[in-house]
């Protein structure tokens, strides 16, 4: 569904590559966390997958399209296959919840009858039934993010890309949001979520791709995440993660796994990807 083949990205006026030689393959229906400290290249991967940026070298294939050869004219149609959610929600402040979600359908020319059916259906799915007439500022952060998720999935995309969707939310609300994403994933949508929030990663135990300075340093199924950089804060993360995983016998193995894999040569992961 999403494949990065030896992808490197160097932004203009920058000497350090944002991504270097990344190889990741995401299957249809998978749920993938991309983790790593700020500036490790998580957002760049999502931007490449959305074709907001183009890879400097290497190939990015998304939903059957080779994005290095996809013409600008075809980009809009390509993006209709993809939903995107961001840390800052990106809702239109002057429009109600209903209108915000409907907007995504109106601008791609969906008929009014379809919009009238899809919008309430989707709002109910994300748990916002009855709040369609509210304005974004009348909602809590978690609710606003649900609106953003509703907008991202209302057109039933194959892929949902989430860039730090819980970055502005409380831990409790964050878990609610990833559970919602998990539910969407189980209904068949491929979900890729970039985050540095260990709790959410450890709660779901999905595949984790860890980036560091633009390189994949770990790619593991059913994994947990212990942030390395935020050493002080990290003490709390595994602790809370540990508490939620207290009855999970694999929790300790996973943490051991991190230590082992952290020593491995990143290039070997390129091989493991295939």
């Amino acid at each position: 569904m999403i494949r990065f083949d030896n992808v490197s990205k160097v932004y203009p006026r920058s000497t350090r590559p944002a991504l270097s030689d990344v190889n990741v393959n995401v299957e249809r229906g998978e749920f993938l966390f991309i983790v790593g400290p700020s500036g490790s290249g998580k957002s760049t991967m999502l931007r490449l997958a959305l074709r907001e940026e183009r890879a400097t070298t290497g190939k990015v294939l998304v939903a059957g399209q080779d994005l290095s050869t996809l013409s600008t004219r075809k980009v809009p149609r390509f993006r209709r296959e993809i939903g995107a959610v961001f840390q800052d929600f990106r809702l239109l402040p002057g429009k109600t919840v209903d209108q915000n979600v409907a907007f995504a359908l109106q601008v791609i020319g969906k008929p009014a009858s379809a919009i009238r059916q899809l919008v309430p259906e989707t709002l109910e799915m994300v748990g916002l039934e009855g709040k369609g007439k509210r304005l974004p500022h009348q909602l809590s952060g978690g609710e606003q993010q649900r609106v953003a998720i509703a907008r991202a999935v209302v057109n039933k995309p194959q892929i949902l890309l989430c860039d730090e969707p819980t970055g502005n939310l409380d831990p409790k609300i964050s878990l609610d949001i990833v559970h919602l994403l998990d539910r969407i994933n189980r209904a068949g949508t491929t979900v890729v979520m970039a985050t540095h929030d260990a709790d959410t990663v450890n709660d779901l135990r999905h595949r984790v791709v860890q980036l560091d300075e633009g390189r994949v340093v770990r790619d593991e199924e059913h994994a947990t995440y212990m942030p390395r950089v935020e050493a002080g804060g990290a003490g709390t993360s595994p602790a809370s993660g540990g508490s939620s995983n207290a009855d999970d016998p694999h929790a300790v193995e996973d943490i051991e796994g991190i230590e082992q894999i952290g020593d491995l040569d990143p290039e070997r992961f390129g091989g493991e990807d295939r």
Partner: protein
């Protein structure tokens, strides 16, 4: 759905950027008014030329006893000289009509023209010379007549009405040139203002545009509201300009002049209508091109 959606976007866009929209309307109006004024002045000149040139005459005044032009040598023109001039005139291919005005006729015409003026009392029969009134096929060729008869025996002077009119047409040309230059400057202003307005409108709506791109709205869906907005605003400006030209022509020009002087020599509402499609076409073209170029530069996918 899409048409209604785009119409809604246009409307909200205009409301949110009202002051800029208004300024585009006004600048477009002024530029098109000036351009229209220049073009109407030119049409007026053309109409007048057609009218006057049909009537324009070259007058060849013959010598009298007390002519002081050196060519006359103080002698009145003889009958032979007069006939020679007349036959030469009639032989010229440029000449359409020749008629002779005797001293008596000239005196009568003078008395008629200046009947309310005390000057008539001092003028006697014979003071105004007899003359040939010559009408030419092409009034601009008067130079041929002048050069041939200026030094002919018995000719006191050759006068051409075109010289007077020329001055008049020159003034009209100046007005035209002036207003067209001003209009050109104003059109540049309007174009730049349209570009700025679109940039500002795009900035005001940057959230919407960001989301549109994200969810895969086509380029045309994103750009159409801006283009339509510009077209609406620019069209409104031209419509006002045409209205002003029409009202101006009716009130000042036609009502003030028309009854007094020659009806046929003046332009009317028809001439405004004749200009209208060109003004509209030009402005729509400018608005569309400016929008497209600006949007190309500022709204990349």
């Amino acid at each position: 759905m899409k048409a209604r959606f785009i119409a809604g976007e246009v409307w909200s866009g205009l409301r949110r950027n009202l002051s800029m929209a208004l300024s585009v309307v006004l600048v477009t109006m002024v530029s098109m008014f000036l351009l229209g004024l220049g073009l109407l002045a030119q049409r007026q000149a053309d109409t007048m030329k057609g009218y006057w040139y049909d009537r324009i005459q070259v007058s060849i005044y013959l010598c009298t006893d007390d002519s002081n032009t050196p060519n006359c040598q103080g002698l009145a023109a003889t009958e032979a000289q007069k006939q020679s001039i007349e036959s030469q005139l009639r032989a010229m291919p440029e000449v359409k009509q020749v008629f002779h005005e005797s001293e008596a006729q000239a005196f009568e015409r003078f008395k008629e023209q200046f009947r309310n003026s005390p000057i008539t009392g001092n003028v006697q029969l014979g003071d105004i010379p007899q003359s040939f009134r010559v009408q030419l096929d092409d009034p601009s060729k008067f130079g041929v007549v002048t050069s041939q008869f200026e030094r002919a025996p018995g000719v006191a002077s050759v006068q051409d009405q075109e010289r007077v009119l020329k001055r008049f047409f020159q003034i009209i040309n100046w007005i035209t040139g002036f207003s067209v230059v001003l209009a050109a400057l104003m059109v540049i202003c309007a174009t730049l203002l349209m570009a700025t307005t679109i940039r500002q409108a795009a900035f005001i709506r940057r959230r919407e545009i960001g989301i549109m791109r994200l969810v895969g709205a086509s380029n045309w869906t994103i750009r159409m509201p801006f283009i339509i907005e510009m077209l609406v605003v620019a069209t409104l400006g031209v419509a006002l300009a045409v209205g002003m030209l029409w009202v101006g022509l009716r009130l000042i020009f036609n009502a003030g002049f028309n009854q007094v002087v020659l009806n046929k020599a003046l332009i009317g509402a028809n001439d405004v209508w004749a200009l209208t499609p060109w003004l509209f076409g030009g402005v729509i073209l400018i608005a569309a091109l400016t929008s497209l170029v600006t949007l190309r530069r500022y709204l990349r996918v």
